[in-house]
């Protein structure tokens, strides 16, 4: 199934790259990208290869892989000199320790103990150290982002096992290869890290002040400020009045690109949509995070102390199905979600939450009974959330 779906989507990538990329983007934006096409799609979305020049792909990827091997050897050699005392670089030693510790405790929800395996841990460590030595400062959270990329590539490869384009074709080059997982994950990670820079940028050695705050904290402010106000003025005003600090709950959502809110396979669906048009990746992430706040609006509005709200946001109920979140992001408005949740809360006030839960199902299961082929997926999902018959809820 999966490999056939991927084959259908990718069939004309070589002769009609532009049309095929548009098709991939459209599927990703609706949360419907086949797993087997994910590795190829991310390479195109993140511009690890030039989508318009299929003939350049094989060469570009081969160059990338050999460049990675060289950079990694340099980084490991440098670390060894530092550890052996031939060179002094305390900061590098500290960061290497940090990366090692994080890789040793890299537990991705939904991936079991996949990353507890020693060779995978070593590969993650090597790739992150290489990135740190060549591209920027390592920050916690990056380890889980890299591991999720790794997971997606492995899954795509497994799903595509029956799907074999001609070995000499550009498409063949684009599919994930078991032998190059580390280099390929590194390459995608480096592209992603470059476009998510504000999320990870820190302020090392600098005293925070009201006028100079890390970019990540400003993004967190946008989550609870601009983005939330745009869709849910009531909840925005509530959290602002209580003086809830958004960075306390939103930082880990953003730094893991929602890996702490979804299991691995689900977060990949969200990433598919986020990676379409990386120019607005940050703002899409902020919008997605604000929708996750909206998702729990009924409970949050009942809490009248900042600490209670923060406690709730730190241990939130299950998030909405990724396809619903992606669908709402695509519409660029979450107001319809607010309306649906208001209606659900009104039903709960009359019937009690347990009756509503029993009849309509838990909110996060809203999308589960709906067909994958459904075109008006968001309408249907919102309707089942609050037992509303019509679309255009709250028009």
């Amino acid at each position: 199934m999966e490999d056939q779906a991927a084959a259908a989507v990718l069939a004309h990538i070589e002769d009609q790259p532009h049309a095929c990329l548009e098709r991939l983007e459209a599927l990703a934006a609706r949360g419907k990208l086949p797993i087997a096409a994910r590795g190829a799609a991310w390479r195109l979305f993140l511009r690890a290869v030039d989508p318009q020049k299929p003939k350049s792909w094989r060469r570009a990827l081969a160059d990338d892989r050999s460049a990675y091997a060289k950079k990694r050897d340099d980084a490991l050699r440098r670390l060894k000199r530092v550890v052996d005392g031939a060179e002094t670089d305390e900061a590098l030693e500290d960061t290497a320790d940090q990366i090692r510790k994080d890789c040793e405790r890299c537990y991705i929800d939904g991936a079991g103990d996949h990353f507890a395996e020693a060779t995978r841990q070593k590969a993650l460590f090597d790739a992150l150290l290489t990135w740190h030595c060549t591209s920027g400062d390592y920050r916690q959270g990056m380890h889980e982002v890299l591991a999720t990329i790794w997971w997606a590539l492995e899954r795509a490869q497994g799903a595509a096992s029956l799907y074999c384009p001609a070995p000499s074709s550009p498409l063949h080059a684009l599919l994930p290869s078991a032998d190059d997982l580390e280099a390929d994950a590194f390459s995608l990670f480096a592209k992603l890290a470059a476009v998510t820079r504000p999320i990870f940028d820190g302020f090392d050695g600098m005293t925070p002040s009201p006028h100079r705050r890390p970019p990540a904290v400003e993004l967190c402010d946008d989550v609870q400020g601009r983005a939330l106000a745009a869709v849910d003025e009531e909840l925005h005003a509530h959290l602002e009045r209580l003086e809830v600090l958004p960075q306390i709950y939103a930082l880990s959502w953003l730094r893991t690109l929602f890996g702490r809110r979804y299991v691995a396979d689900d977060v990949c669906v969200l990433w598919d949509a986020l990676f379409v048009d990386t120019a607005c990746l940050s703002s899409k992430m902020v919008d997605a995070a604000s929708l996750l706040v909206v998702w729990d609006r009924s409970a949050l509005l009942r809490l009248n102390a900042a600490d209670d709200c923060v406690a709730r946001l730190l241990r939130p109920p299950a998030a909405p199905a990724p396809r619903l979140l992606v669908g709402l992001l695509n519409e660029k408005t979450g107001r319809r979600l607010v309306d649906a949740l208001r209606r659900r809360a009104a039903l709960e006030d009359v019937l009690g939450p347990s009756v509503v839960g029993a009849v309509l199902g838990p909110p996060d299961r809203t999308a589960s009974g709906l067909s994958e082929e459904e075109d008006d997926y968001v309408d249907a999902a919102l309707a089942t959330l609050c037992m509303s018959g019509g679309s255009n809820v709250g028009g």
Binding site: R105, Q140, G202, D204, R213, L245, I248, S252, D308
Partner: protein, 210 residues
């Protein structure tokens, strides 16, 4: 009464594990790295001084803030540390570097939290991972010397194991006790804690309905 406790220390020393052992009496071998911050609350009976008898004990809610070791105050902001009643500094007995960094953590905390009485602000030092005694690289004596040097009175020091639940309860109790006596000594500290209201359980009142 609500007391705000902040746990600081290098990445991987066991801050999250200590907190979980104290609050939930549980230990896991698979803690993820803390990103940003987290907090848990626990109610406890606690006396303001060591000699107090049961009848003097107050029911306190400890709101314990766990922080990412890499964060170093930059992302959480000054407001996050304001109103802290006590700070627990943690190092790992198998990692000398994490012990050496206690100075930095202490100074940064005082700078950011800016308590009214910097000299007497209560700290508790925890040396964690006692279950790995065979890999110990920081001698008890060395830590005790550090504690004596950094305090005008006594800086309480505990060697704990979050894994084996050794001395964890005692260390947190001591922290609570210091916070409580600090609060009673300094009236100007109390108002800041009033803004934190109760535990998550009491947010449900429906009195304003027409």
């Amino acid at each position: 009464m609500l007391l705000k406790v902040v746990i600081l220390g290098d990445s991987g020393v066991g801050k999250t594990a200590l907190l979980n052992q104290f609050v939930n009496n549980r230990f896991s071998t698979s803690y993820k790295a803390t990103i940003g911050a987290d907090f848990l609350t626990k109610e406890a009976f606690c006396g303001a001084n060591a000699r107090s008898v049961a009848i003097d004990e107050t029911l306190v809610t400890l709101q314990i803030w766990d922080t990412a070791g890499q964060e170093r105050f930059q992302s959480l902001g000054v407001g996050f540390y304001r109103g802290a009643d006590v700070c627990i500094l943690v190092y790992d007995i198998t990692q000398p570097k994490s012990f050496e960094n206690l100075d930095t953590w202490r100074i940064e905390f005082l700078t950011q939290a800016s308590p009214s009485d910097t000299q007497n602000f209560p700290f508790v030092v925890i040396a964690n991972k006692l279950d790995r005694e065979n890999d110990r690289r920081v001698a008890t004596q060395r830590a005790q010397t550090w504690c004596a040097k950094n305090s005008t009175s006594i800086l309480p020091f505990f060697e704990t194991s979050a894994k084996a639940a050794t001395e964890v309860e005692a260390a947190f109790r001591k922290a609570a006790q210091l916070a409580l006596s600090q609060g009673t000594m300094q009236a100007d500290f109390i108002p800041e804690t009033i803004s934190f209201r109760g535990s998550p359980a009491n947010g449900d009142s429906k009195s304003s309905c027409c």
